[in-house]
């Protein structure tokens, strides 16, 4: 049943792509309806003037998204059912190569990720119709966008369903290539083309690594199904080779440092609802792949792998957030923050690997649960923030934080929703981001139960890095909210912005915000639902997690740590309301509106308020070595002896160190190699004849 629902979900997303295609300017749907309209217009024109061009384009916009919503709904249903049933449904499709049928399977792990995919997808399907309206009269047909969105979603769902390496890779490539076209959608802009090319390049390198990783397993088993892989007998060396290849491949897609550089380029280039899907969901699919490979397919785990994952995860977390802090482009900032969150998830998975390989199954399970939970939470709040950024973009056509400001007055509803996302991603108590980070800290604090002294000191150091990361994340998102939504509008068109009118564009983010609060306040049912999943992966279910009842989280035991988000929320609301009642209701003194005091300086203008660059300047100076900064000041002087400065131009840019250290050298090496190989091409016919002659001689020699 669950597999059937999942199949419907895949079909619905494929249909959504087809519907978008056929709704194009000369598409089947439009032609058919036009013909129908011409045939019946004489009869129905007066009675039923339903298909006016405006209405039709609204339908053409809505139907693909409605189908995506259906797909999302079925995905959630299928996922919930798979988690609830605690069993694996499999099927063999009669497609594929003659001797290689496609295998499908839906187990609790895939089911959980179906939920991770489904909720943001529903939100996107609500948000999309309003958002894409402005593309309608642009250069690029909506049908292309709709088609590739549908294929992209179908690809992601098929990755989750795949039960053999062949189908997995086909689905993986479908996902990658479809999203390439989405990134390249507005290709008149050279930066977008560059971003798309970089994305495709890195996606394919990652895919090759994954194929090789599967190849190692297939080499030992002679089959391509995951069922066969699970029984593979590998020596530690080959297992490690497979593991490192998988980590590279999936890590490249997930955006681990230093393989993250495509993210900050691709996310701003894609339309916002697609960035929400890419950042919120596609990165999670990569994490799914990693979990599937490491925890499910590989027969044994080694603690060295855990250390590797922990180190890379911590580095990604702290570097991601440090770079995010320095961004002025809102979507770039969000992309870097995804690098951070993926780093946090991998930190948790690294802890899980270490604990599990040292025989601490319960703690390993806890780490896995924490990582999965953070994955879901990130999918929720990052999609919310990307949709919020998209809504701002839609209303103001503004990417840069430096030009925003004061949006809380112009878009109050969106501001409230965005605040929920901000507080969630900053990991503040009653919200969902805090729960998962708390669980990761709790996992790390159990490091004392490991034998090896090196590991015992490594894990707390990693948790120190995590603590720094979460504090910096709070600074980063306070900056985003403060600069974009609070204060005075920094440009004229921002001051004239209006609240979003399209109800769906608010409903999508609202759904995600509600989930953020819900999973933050009541995380227990969610963690309990993960039981079958951990049972199937680690053979362990957290025993004490709900000892004190469903309001309490007790990861290890009530004496070690307990947290009750619901009671905390109740307490904050109660105390806050009591204060409000005593101070405001009882005294009845209405606050007086006045000019800001500002230490008596007066003359408050938008130009005098702190900018995003100014806000993060102290942190940039403190972490100077991490950044590759270029700062220039141009002065224009006049007057006697050039003493009077008439014009001052300050320019400041932060570049990613990974470019300088890794990508530019390898790019140069490839160019040099190409130039060297290019010497073959002399353009002289005699040389080519000589090549043919030599080749012929060699071939004859080989044959004889």
């Amino acid at each position: 049943m669950s597999l059937f629902l999942a199949a419907i979900s895949v079909l619905a997303s494929l249909l959504s792509g087809l519907a978008a295609l056929s709704a194009g300017p000369n598409g089947l749907l439009r032609r058919g309806i036009r013909a129908w309209g011409q045939a019946f217009s004489s009869h129905y024109a007066r009675v039923n003037p339903s298909l006016t061009p405006g209405r039709f384009s609204r339908l053409a916009r809505t139907i693909p998204f409605a189908l995506l919503g259906v797909s999302g709904g079925f995905a959630v249903l299928a996922g919930l059912l798979a988690l609830h049933d605690n069993s694996t449904r499999t099927a063999v499709l009669p497609f594929g190569l003659p001797w290689l049928n496609w295998h499908l399977a839906l187990d609790p792990l895939a089911g959980f990720f179906f939920c991770v995919l489904g909720i943001p997808l529903i939100a996107v399907s609500l948000f999309g119709p309003g958002y894409v309206r402005e593309f309608e009269h642009g250069k690029h047909p909506l049908s292309v966008l709709g088609l590739f969105t549908g294929l992209f979603v179908a690809g992601m769902e098929l990755v989750l369903l795949a039960d053999d390496a062949l189908l997995f890779m086909i689905a993986w490539e479908l996902m990658s290539v479809a999203s390439y076209f989405l990134v390249a959608y507005q290709h008149e802009n050279p930066t977008n083309r560059r971003a798309a090319f970089l994305y495709l390049l890195m996606a394919e390198i990652g895919a090759i690594a994954i194929i090789l990783a599967f190849g190692v397993l297939a080499g030992f088993t002679g089959e391509l199904t995951f069922g066969a892989f699970r029984g593979a007998v590998l020596n530690p060396l080959w297992a490690s080779v497979a593991f490192v290849l998988a980590l590279t491949g999936f890590g490249m897609k997930a955006g681990l440092v230093p393989l993250h550089t495509w993210l900050p380029e691709a996310h701003p280039a894609a339309p916002s609802h697609v960035s929400a899907l890419m950042s919120g969901v596609m990165l999670k699919i990569a994490i799914y792949g990693f979990i599937r490979f490491a925890f499910d397919l590989l027969p044994s785990l080694f603690w060295q792998w855990g250390v590797l994952v922990l180190l890379i995860g911590s580095a990604s977390a702290v570097l991601g957030i440090l770079y995010a802090l320095q961004q002025q482009n809102l979507k770039r900032l969000l992309a870097y923050s995804s690098v951070e969150n993926v780093g946090i998830i991998f930190t948790a998975l690294g802890l899980a690997l270490i604990f599990q390989s040292s025989g601490q199954l319960q703690l390993g399970t806890l780490g896995l649960v924490a990582g999965l939970l953070h994955g879901l939470n990130h999918a929720l709040f990052k999609s919310l923030l990307f949709l919020g950024a998209g809504a701002i973009l839609h209303q103001t056509h503004e990417h840069s934080l430096e030009n925003m400001g004061g949006l809380v007055h112009r878009m109050p509803k969106l501001a409230a929703l965005f605040l929920v996302g901000t507080l969630s991603i900053a990991a503040l108590p009653p919200f969902n981001g805090f729960v998962s980070e708390w669980l990761i800290f709790q996992t790390a604090l159990q490091a004392g139960s490991i034998q090896s002294g090196i590991l015992r000191s490594l894990i707390p150091t990693a948790s120190a890095v995590l603590a720094l990361t979460s504090a910096l994340a709070a600074a980063c998102f306070v900056k985003v909210y403060g600069v974009a939504f609070l204060g005075l509008p920094r440009s004229r068109h921002i001051a004239r912005t209006r609240e979003i009118r399209h109800p769906g564009m608010l409903a999508g983010p609202a759904l995600l915000a509600a989930c953020c609060v819900l999973f933050g306040v009541f995380p227990m049912p969610l963690i309990n639902a993960l039981g079958p999943l951990t049972q199937s992966l680690t053979g362990f279910v957290l025993p004490n997690i709900s000892v004190l009842g469903w309001l309490w989280l007790t990861p290890v035991s009530p004496d070690v740590a307990a947290y009750s988000p619901a009671l905390v929320t109740l307490g904050i609301v109660a105390v806050g309301w009591l204060c409000y009642y005593l101070l405001y209701r009882r005294t009845g003194l209405e606050p007086r509106r006045a000019e800001p005091w500002d230490c008596g300086f007066g003359g408050l203008t938008p130009r005098t308020q702190y900018t995003s660059g100014a806000f993060s300047m102290p942190i940039r100076r403190i972490f100077e070595p991490v950044f590759d900064t270029r700062e220039t000041v141009e002065e224009q002087r006049e007057g006697p002896a050039n003493t009077r400065i008439t014009r001052l131009r300050y320019q400041f840019q932060v570049f990613d160190r990974a470019w300088v250290a890794l990508y530019e050298p390898s790019g140069r090496a490839v160019t040099r190699l190409a130039r060297w190989v290019g010497r073959l091409q002399t353009g002289n016919i005699r040389t080519y004849l000589a090549y043919s002659f030599c080749t012929l001689i060699v071939l004859l020699w080989v044959v004889s």
Partner: protein, 314 residues
Amino acid sequence: MAWLVAIFQTLLFIALAPLLSGWIKRVKCRLQNRKAPSLFQPYRDLRKLYRKRPIMPYPASWIFRAAPYIVFASTVLAAATVPLVAIHLPTARIADVIVLVGFFALGRTFLVLAGMDIGTAFGGMGSSREMTISSLAEPAMLMAVFTLAMSAHTTNLSQAVSFVLDSGLVLRPSFVFAMGGLILVTIAETGRIPVDNPATHLELTMIHEAMILEYSGRWLALIEWASQIKLMLYGVLIANIFFPWGIAQTFTPDALGFGLAMIALKLAVLAVVLAFSEVLFAKMRIFRVQEYLSFAYLLSVLGLLSHIILEAVR
């Protein structure tokens, strides 16, 4: 009964916090050869502010209005989770010490947002500085707390305190490091000299004050009160974790009274130490604060590592 004690203790916390500030101010004045104000001056200030009608600047949004309540509520909840006169309170199970750090972060976030809400340069400056300092201080504090948590095998504050009580007076290197780190963090997070100077309104020195410049009346009273509670909270944390003797382990009136007397004594002594340090040191430049806080971070991490290497019983 236990819940009653917990609520009573929280109320006591809220009620006594201004007294501690008054005491610090008094000691400081005496050390500087100034005439000291009454011990109850902070209460009078709060009452005065409470009676005044607050002013809401034109560009302010609802965040500016909501922030004082959220700041106060999160601080009160933080106070509820810290054992003041007794341990084994039910509130310790609702939130552990990581959540306590989270409460501080929640209050701070709203304060910082409120600072940016008006769009004044001062507000933004204070917000930026506060976030910078806290993003360095928070991990240092977490590390100090983790040292304790790993020694006591719990992040539950009550359990941790009773662990220290049970194990008696053992000079653990990890605790010494952690205490050093926590004291440095306390000074930074409560906005005291040498990191911040709460008594001035100068552009060069303001951090905390710059964010709340626009607040007045009842809202300012709430914020001031919350920061007094926060100061006392950190004091109680240091006093009860590292010197827990005298804290009530049963809910009898005698034990509770003794616990109250002991914590009052400990806080009074801590306040004298704080006042001395404030008189002896000058305020640092903002970019020196990072060195100070990295030192705190280093101390805490050293504490953790020394626990793992030297003390962990295997």
